[in-house]
């Protein structure tokens, strides 16, 4: 794959990439801590992954293989555009196979296949501050992080149980990283939270509009907050995938007609395709 010679490798200039790498290193050194960085204007709108794309640009090398997923799918607009972007500005190989990728940029999902030490998972983060809806003052949230003063987050969970009878937060479920920092896992479903715990792959989080980077190094403890008598439960639709029959993957509900017809399919398209292929091979 040849890259467009009109751009520096991976779009950003070298000093910007160094600035982002410094933020990433600091983030890795303090797991879960939000590090401010000078986010650049990127050729896509805020909310489409400007933070993730900058982190990817800073860590990707010519030998890397990039996979981009949006809500688990490889074939959605955002995923296709970002893959095309890096093919053009970095000339890197891209893939839809989780197993073959070395860098995976994701919006709102963690792949079903367990990741390895040779992979980096880059999350696109709309709002890095987990206390954002509870405490409006950023200066105060910073102080709360500094002092590990996280009682307020439990007040939110308490209110959930008092109102709904269970913790009703089904995505963006707050986690404690390394027993110290409260972290927003970006809006992944709570179903994916357990995959973050002691994951062998490096996890990097980029928030472009909010100009924050944070990280979870490999094999770091990531614990979902809960109560002793209301333990954390990963939630998934109680169905099997219509296409591959999986009963253990995260499902999307898809409407099929205007008369109430609906099916449940795996949100991770690569996982689903792999299972369908192996089932056909077995037949």
């Amino acid at each position: 794959m040849t890259r467009d010679p009109g751009y520096n490798f991976a779009y950003l200039d070298e000093s910007t990439k160094r600035m982002i790498r410094r933020a990433i290193l600091k983030g890795v050194a303090i797991p879960g801590h939000q590090v401010p960085f000078g986010a650049r204007e990127m050729p896509l709108p805020y909310g489409w992954g400007t933070g993730g794309i900058q982190v990817t640009a800073a860590v990707i090398g010519p030998a890397d293989v990039l996979k981009v997923i949006d809500q688990g799918a490889d074939d959605t607009t955002n995923a296709v555009s970002i893959r095309a972007f890096f093919r053009r500005v970095a000339g890197v190989a891209t893939t839809e196979r989780t197993a073959e990728a070395t860098v995976i940029q994701t919006r709102h999902r963690i792949p079903e296949r367990a990741l390895t030490e040779n992979q980096i998972l880059v999350y696109q983060v709309p709002m890095p501050e987990p206390l954002f809806r509870l405490e409006a003052r950023i200066a105060e949230t910073k102080r709360m992080h500094a002092l590990a003063d996280y009682g307020l987050m439990h007040v939110k969970l308490y209110e959930d149980i008092a109102r709904h009878g269970h913790i009703a937060t089904s995505y963006n479920y707050p986690v404690m990283v390394n027993g110290r920092y409260l972290m927003s896992p970006s809006p992944i479903p709570a179903f994916d939270n357990p995959k973050m715990d002691r994951m062998p792959a490096l996890q990097l989080f980029g928030a472009g509009r909010e100009k924050r980077i944070y990280a979870v190094p490999p094999y770091t403890s990531v614990r979902s907050l809960d109560f002793e008598d209301h333990p954390f439960r990963p939630i998934r639709a109680p169905h099997a995938c219509t296409l591959c029959g999986a009963r253990d993957s995260y499902l999307d509900e898809v409407l099929t007609d205007d008369r109430g017809g609906r099916i449940f399919v795996c949100s991770d398209t690569d996982h689903c395709a792999e299972r369908q292929a192996s089932r056909e091979a077995a037949e």
Binding site: R143, V155, A162, R163, F227, E228
Partner: protein, 252 residues
């Protein structure tokens, strides 16, 4: 003097040319209720804020149970604020989270000090609602649906749930009508006696001070002009300003 719970020496704080605190000394012993009285602008509230670490005085020292409060880091001070101290604001809106249910408000301090059992937190919150005479059925109601007096009682429940040793109260009965004030004062008096709290209460209501306090400190222009047992100060005021203050109380 050495076994005082909280003691302040030589507190000075100026706002521009105005001396809000001008060399204030104060001691509070465990289980004692001390009222600070004085007119508006006499430095009562500033003294409360300086003692509780909310503002930093320019000079002087504050010692709590042998620790230097002003030298303490913010983490240690917040921990003290959560476990050992309580602060009841004049306006319950400053002390409550208005968007969080009554139970959540009471539970916040418990969760901040590590309570992680929903059932226990809820049971404790229910018990405290009963203690401050709020119907336990209102456990999941938002404070904004409460009356002013109920909000103030809820704030007291939220403050006392972790059983602090020292509570600062800034005009807790201000802005309430007279019958509600009387009920609130009664409640505070009962809880203070039951829990053996030390309380530093700021008020301009001499009657409230007489009802609650063991000792009275009279402030004027940032100085303590008179100090002594409640009945002594109110029945036999020595300083001309205290005499004026006591004489200006309206008899019903």
């Amino acid at each position: 003097m050495s076994n005082a719970l909280l003691s302040a020496r030589g507190l000075v704080l100026r706002f521009g040319r105005i001396a809000a605190l001008d060399g204030v000394d104060l001691d509070i012993w465990p289980g004692e209720v001390v009222a600070i009285v004085g007119e508006s602008g006499s430095g009562k509230t500033t003294l409360l804020r300086a003692l509780s670490g909310l503002v930093r005085p320019e000079a002087g020292s504050v010692t709590y149970a042998g620790q230097d409060v002003l030298a303490m880091g913010e983490a240690a001070r917040r921990d003290l604020m959560r476990r050992e101290w309580g602060f009841v604001h004049q306006n319950p809106r400053d002390g409550l989270r208005m968007g969080v249910s009554a139970g959540g408000n009471i539970g916040e301090r418990l969760m901040a000090v590590g309570a992680r059992h929903y059932g226990n937190i809820r049971a404790e919150a229910t018990a405290w609602l009963q203690r401050v005479e709020i119907d336990p059925d209102r456990l999941d109601a938002l404070p904004r649906t409460f009356s002013g007096g109920m909000q103030q009682r809820l704030q007291i429940a939220r403050t006392l749930v972790t059983r602090p040793r020292l509570v600062f109260m800034d005009e807790p009965t201000g802005g309430l009508d007279v019958s509600v004030q009387a009920r609130l004062l009664d409640l505070i008096r009962a809880l203070v006696a039951e829990l053996g709290l030390a309380v530093l209460i700021v008020t301009h209501d001499i009657a409230a001070a007489r009802l609650l306090a063991h000792r009275i400190v009279v402030m004027r222009h940032g100085r303590v002009v008179e100090e002594g047992l409640t009945d002594r100060v109110l029945d036999d005021p020595q300083h001309p300003y205290t005499q004026l203050l006591v004489a200006s109380v309206l008899a019903a």
